[in-house]
């Protein structure tokens, strides 16, 4: 299980993810979040999106590709999450916090 966290309550958003990694795929995904309804909805959606995802060939080596782990799982960018979930553009900052938490988790050795 790898864990990652980002944000601060004082700034309105704090997110923590825990991802169970098994073989070449993501197992169960859990999250905790302090934030607006859009933040909570995006966390829930991403958790469900991540579960069962398979790393692309050659990329599965958690901790060795901090910059590209989400891409290796085929997860899109926060700009695309806004589009996909119909969120206000003003929420991009909060989605970037979520992305940071996920990247922090996947960057763990």
């Amino acid at each position: 299980v790898v864990r990652g966290e980002a944000g601060k309550e004082a700034l309105g958003t704090r997110v923590r993810f825990a991802l169970e990694l098994a073989e070449d795929r993501v197992g169960a995904v859990r999250y905790r979040a302090y934030g607006c309804p859009h933040t909570l909805a995006a966390c829930e959606w991403l958790a469900r999106q991540l579960e069962g995802r398979v790393f692309t060939v050659g990329a599965f080596a958690v901790g060795t590709f901090a910059g590209g782990a989400l891409e290796a799982l085929g997860i899109s960018t926060p700009l695309e999450w806004i589009e996909r979930l119909g969120l206000p553009q003003a929420k991009l900052g909060r989605l970037l916090v979520i992305e940071d938490a996920l990247r922090a988790a996947l960057a763990q050795p």
């Binding site: 704090r14 979040a33 607006c36």
Partner: protein, 393 residues
């Protein structure tokens, strides 16, 4: 969650109140051909009938605040009354000062925007404004007012009951300070009139703003009480037909005025009983919310109007809390929406940190609130607070 097709429970009486059916009926009598539809400025019988209706309403409004009817000026609501009091006083003062001195106004940081924004406008025009900081319970110390008044102070403007937290200022003591220095006191009583006793025959108040729609009356009608001593120190903002003795031109809206008058009369007749009933509901609500744990009361615990309760839930994100309370119609102090994360300036002025201020809810109860609604509100807030606490990191 709220079942589809069912209206949420209305807990936002401080924003506005439904018109009492008795008031609506009285208004209806002033609209149609067989009723009092005339223009009160007309000389014929329709005009005279309408004028009589307007003057009867003026007496009803004046009676609610213990003032002579002749001192009531009709406006479109408390915002216009506040603008007339503040801008009208400042304009008259500027004319008197003739550029040799700058008019000075004293107000507080927790006033309604309808007071703060005219004051900011005046600052741009060269006036000086002092914004007093209340204590942590929202109370302005009369001594602060005394110390802020200077040689060029032309007005002190302080609200009676705060619209967000419901705290009542000691207007009599503040007015006494103003009288000592010969400075007029303007009071925004939009949230207090009809809820707590106001007797201007004894209170040292020179200008007082009222609105109908917080009293189960219609929107779009209000009044400004102007003491006879201060009338000459007020300049109008609107010019036209010279109605309201030149202070507020415009054809009088007889149906609105009739509704406002009756709303005031009903408030005066039922205030004691209603205050007790609504105050008891608010206490029941507070006890229920307090039992959730970690709940903070914003504002003074006892020096307040009966119907307003403002509470914070530290550690809970305000926008998520409100979004989950779909079965309740209430206001959040957070002003947190997709465009702004700004926290309530009133709660920030009381010393609450941004996150606590954003997690606050304003419950406001009124004439048609009942105990069952309070119980449902407590259950809904408990459910959402527990849900959000469970997912918080």
């Amino acid at each position: 969650m709220r079942p589809i097709g069912v209206d949420p429970i209305y807990l936002d009486y401080a924003a506005t109140s439904p018109v009492d059916p008795r008031v609506a009926a009285a208004m209806g009598e002033c609209l149609t051909r067989t009723g009092n539809f005339g223009n009160p400025a007309s000389q014929h019988v329709f005009g005279r009938r309408a004028l009589a209706r307007v003057e009867a309403a003026r007496a009803q409004v004046a009676s609610l605040i213990g003032a002579p009817a002749a001192q009531i000026i009709w406006t479109s609501g408390a915002t216009e009354s506040n603008n007339l009091a503040i801008l009208g006083t400042a304009r008259a003062a500027r004319a008197r000062f003739a550029g040799r001195r700058q008019p000075h106004i004293v107000t507080s940081r927790t006033e309604h925007k309808a007071v703060l924004d005219p004051c900011r406008r005046l600052e741009k025009d060269g006036c000086l404004v002092n914004y007093l900081l209340p204590d942590a319970l929202g109370i302005v110390d009369p001594q602060q007012v005394r110390e802020a008044i200077g040689e060029d102070t032309v007005l002190v403007s302080l609200m009676h009951a705060n619209n967000e937290i419901g705290v009542l200022q000691d207007i009599e003591a503040i007015g006494a300070c103003c009288r000592e220095r010969g400075v007029p006191l303007h009071v925004d009583a939009a949230q207090s009139a009809g809820k707590v006793p106001i007797d201007l025959s004894n209170a040292p108040v020179d200008l007082l703003s009222l609105t109908a729609h917080k009293l189960c009356g219609p929107k779009g009608i209000g009044a400004l009480y102007v003491s006879p001593q201060r009338r000459a120190e007020l300049q109008p903002l609107m010019f036209g037909g010279g109605q309201e003795r030149g202070l507020r031109s415009g054809t009088l809206a007889v149906h609105q005025i009739a509704g406002f008058g009756l709303a005031c009369e009903l408030c005066a007749a039922e205030r004691l009983e209603e205050s007790r009933r609504v105050g008891a509901l608010r206490e029941r609500l507070w006890e229920g919310l307090r039992s959730i744990g970690g709940t903070l009361l914003n504002g003074h615990p006892t020096q307040r109007v009966p119907g307003i309760l403002n509470v914070s839930f530290p550690g809970i994100e305000g926008e998520s809390l409100v979004a989950g309370l779909t079965e309740l119609a209430l206001s959040t102090s957070s002003a947190c929406n997709s465009d702004s994360d700004e926290a309530s300036y009133v709660l920030r002025a009381l010393g609450r940190d941004t996150q606590t201020a954003q997690s606050s809810l304003r419950f406001s109860l009124g004439r048609f609130s009942v105990g069952e609604e309070v119980e449902q509100a407590v259950a809904a807030v408990r459910r959402e607070v527990e849900r959000l606490r469970a997912v918080a990191p």
